[in-house]
């Protein structure tokens, strides 16, 4: 499943991450990599963008990006 399909409050580990694209390189530089544990904190009031927590801080990204991030939920 992808990061955009995660339910609010749930955590997951990133499995696959797109290689190219300036936005994805920046997301990696912000610490979102294969193997990183993320929690979906909430979505914005209108449903997009998403707020995720990773490495102890909060980050926003749009669903269009989150659609390409493959994750594996942790129970």
């Amino acid at each position: 499943m992808t990061l955009s399909e995660l339910t609010v409050g749930a955590s997951a580990v990133v499995r696959e991450f797109p290689k190219s694209g300036a936005a994805f390189i920046r997301l990696r530089e912000m610490g979102l990599l294969a193997g990183t544990r993320v929690t979906l904190v909430r979505t914005a009031p209108l449903g997009d963008p998403l707020e995720i927590k990773l490495r102890g801080y909060h980050l926003t990204l749009r669903k269009t990006e989150a659609d390409h991030v493959v994750i594996e939920p942790v129970v």
Binding site: R26, R42, P45, D48, T60, R62
Partner: protein, 707 residues
């Protein structure tokens, strides 16, 4: 220890030159607070030539009173730049800028609560082979969050001085100054494994950078690594381009990797994070999981589907309420001061053109703009407050979806909102927008938001449109709201149009940190407000002075015979003739040459329209009472006896003011912020063109319908 030759060459001894530190860090890590704490008020704020990025240089004093130069570089998450701000940071650190000497030492500040991501930038900087001091800021917040960080351990791992600090209350600043005073700062002991698939490319590019781009060997390695991460590099004015040979090598490696599917940039980032992860595992211990933080609790409301909107609405309501109420007193004060100054000059100089030039040209013109300074400052203060508390990011988060409908992102929201008070601070606030095209689009549409200088014009026109007290207040308010709505819809419509045509680009991403809420550093916010206000005065001041004098000249010459009234003088002046010349162009909108004079004089500031009408119709207002002017307007006639200010004309004139670009100060600021005449001229053209077309439709349509 003897310094390696390349460092010795770049670092003259303390006796020959005072040491220069670059202060670098992620956004929101307390960098500005530390900079202010280090340098006090000894700062020089300017701009990097060619880009609209603030250049801040200050002087700190060592423990022995020796001056130390500190350059506060713009906040950056990575040296692989994504915004002009980050590009400047990268270029200064790599010595790519001709206007700024490469700093010989680097002060890295990190947020201790968020060490891993903050260390990413530090990791890139350690590659540069310069002495680095690491400041662990917000140690108190980290302790509260149950994080224990062993600074000594980090010092050992990286081989550089690590200073724990709380910049907000100045703790650790003395220790930092002691470290900065050292002449024997060690070079970082920094080894990390570049992935094997990439290492040969790094070596080859490094060699070419040394041979063809005259880079020093060690910084050439850093630059080579960066070129490989920097896929879509942001180039800004003032930075030196790559030599063709190196560019060729880079390209051939990238093509090779693309064909065999090597994810080179990703691999580099991953291996850096691997190295950071190992360091973090040794120095950070998390005691207890820690429940939701205060920030989490606030955000449960601040970004709630219902409360979030209410809160945003109240914050913005409060903002505007204070802009309009608080600004009133200083505005009246400035008004009086300007009037007194003009009177004083009138009393102490002999009658003549020079005196009129000073009083009616320079003083009146500059005064007409300075009067908006209180509003501008209050807006800057609020923007600074929203930024420093962290709420700004939440506003952008909430508004992003709506802004994305027109192809912008949430970061354009505050600049556009601020433009309701005055487009100038709004346009200056667009600097937080990373994407160049998004920023230009936001600047282009910002003046369509009805600013407070249009308010007096709307009020006068509404008064003339619906005379007397018979008309319910609701109608007046309704018309006013209609004008604001028109401007807003126009702004979003044009943003949508420009993003699809002129400034087409990939849909902007919304990758933004939501920093924890913090109590605002009022001193920092005030300081920033004054800086920006001063910047505006300096930037717009000269242009405004020049234009005011030109406008004065146009209305004062050629001279009417002695004994002529102001009205007669204006009528036969250049401005009056220009009004006549303009009449064929504006007659289809129902405007005559007298209104034309008002339109021209509005360029000084839109509200000047009201006083100009006072002169044109010989009904100069006494104080705030516009009743005589209203009466005069209603009595004004075309030569053939038709009434001039019919309700339809008043309404059309308001429509014109909603859309027309009639503000020299804004044009001057846009010129500065976009660094070219192209955008302000385009803006002038498209806005005034739209104003004409819509006014034409409204007036002719209205007449056809029998109004």
């Amino acid at each position: 220890m003897a310094l390696p030759p390349h460092i010795a060459a770049a670092t003259p001894g303390p006796a020959t030159r005072q040491p220069t530190y670059a202060l670098v860090g992620n956004p929101n890590c307390g960098k500005s607070t530390l900079f202010n704490a280090l340098t006090g008020l000894k700062q020089k704020v300017g701009n990097y030539p060619g880009v609209t990025v603030e250049k801040k240089v200050g002087t700190a004093y060592s423990q022995h009173g020796q001056p130390i130069t500190v350059i506060d570089l713009p906040g950056a998450y990575s040296l692989a730049a994504r915004s002009p701000d980050e590009a400047v940071t990268r270029d200064v650190l790599l010595g790519r800028r001709a206007d700024t000497p490469q700093p010989d030492r680097i002060l890295c500040i990190v947020d201790a609560t968020n060490l891993e991501r903050n260390l990413y930038l530090v990791h890139q900087i350690l590659d540069l082979g310069r002495p680095v001091i690491l400041v662990l800021n917000m140690m108190d917040v980290a302790a509260q969050a149950g994080l224990e960080i062993q600074a000594e351990r980090l010092e050992q791992e990286l081989g550089i001085p690590v200073i724990p600090c709380q910049a907000v209350n100045g703790q650790g600043v003395i220790e930092l100054k002691v470290a900065m005073s050292r002449t024997d700062l060690p070079l970082p002991r920094h080894a990390w494994d570049v992935p094997a698939a990439i290492a040969p490319a790094v070596a080859e590019i490094q060699a070419s950078l040394v041979a063809h781009d005259r880079k020093l060997p060690l910084s050439a390695r850093a630059e080579a690594l960066l070129l490989l991460t920097d896929q879509d590099s942001v180039r800004v004015a003032g930075s030196t381009p790559l030599s063709p040979r190196t560019a060729e090598i880079l390209k051939s490696w990238q093509q090779r990797w693309e064909s065999d599917g090597t994810d080179w940039a990703g691999m580099l980032v991953n291996s850096r994070y691997d190295s950071i992860g190992r360091i973090a595992a040794q120095v950070v211990t998390q005691a207890g999981a820690g429940g939701p933080t205060l920030s989490d609790k606030i955000d449960a409301y601040a970004t709630h589907p219902l409360w979030g909107w209410l809160m945003l609405g109240s914050v913005m309501g409060l903002l505007f309420l204070s802009i309009f109420t608080l600004a009133e007193y200083p505005m009246n004060l400035i008004d009086d001061l300007v009037a007194n100054l003009a009177d004083w000059v009138k009393g102490s100089m002999g009658e003549g053109d020079l005196r009129d030039l000073i009083t009616d040209g320079a003083i009146a013109g500059v005064g007409g703009v300075v009067i908006f300074l209180p509003q501008i400052l209050i807006l800057f203060f609020f923007i600074g407050l929203l930024e420093s508390t962290g709420y700004m990011a939440r506003a952008a988060f909430i508004m992003d979806r709506l802004m994305s409908r027109v192809g912008l992102n949430g970061k354009s929201f505050i600049p556009l909102l601020g433009s309701y008070a005055c487009a100038i601070p709004g346009i200056m606030a667009t600097r937080t927008i990373e994407d160049h095209k998004d920023r230009i689009v936001t600047i282009l549409v910002a003046p369509l938001m009805s600013c407070s200088a249009r308010l007096p014009v709307y009020l006068l026109m509404i008064a003339a449109l619906v005379p007397g007290d018979r008309v319910p207040v609701g109608t007046k308010v309704g018309i006013m709201l209609l004008m604001y709505t028109l401007g807003t819809v126009g702004a979003f419509g044009f943003a949508w149009l420009f993003k699809r045509t002129l400034l087409k680009g990939a849909p902007p991403a919304m990758i933004m940190e939501l920093p924890p809420y913090r109590l605002p550093g009022v001193r920092d916010v005030l300081f920033q407000m004054l800086e920006r206000g001063w910047l505006f005065l300096r930037r717009a001041g000269t242009v405004i002075l020049g234009i005011s004098i030109v406008l004065w000249f146009l209305s004062a010459y050629p001279k009417a015979p002695d004994g002529a009234t102001n009205q007669q003088q204006l009528a036969q002046s250049f401005a009056g003739r220009a009004g006549h010349a303009l009449e064929p162009a504006i007659a289809p909108l129902g405007f005559d040459w007298q209104i034309g004079i008002g339109l021209i004089s509005s360029f000084a500031a839109r509200e000047v329209f009201v006083s100009t009408m006072g002169v044109v119709f010989n009904a100069e207002a006494e104080g705030d009472d516009t009743a005589p002017l209203r009466k005069a307007l209603l009595e004004a006639k075309w030569p053939d006896g038709r009434a001039l200010f019919t309700p339809l004309v008043c309404f059309t004139l308001m429509i014109f003011y909603v859309f027309a670009m009639q503000c020299i100060s804004t044009i001057a600021v846009v010129r500065r912020e976009t660094n070219s005449w192209r955008w302000p001229l385009f803006q002038l053209g498209y806005m005034t063109g739209t104003a004409w077309i819509l006014s034409f439709i409204v007036y002719q349509g209205g007449r056809a319908l029998g109004f």
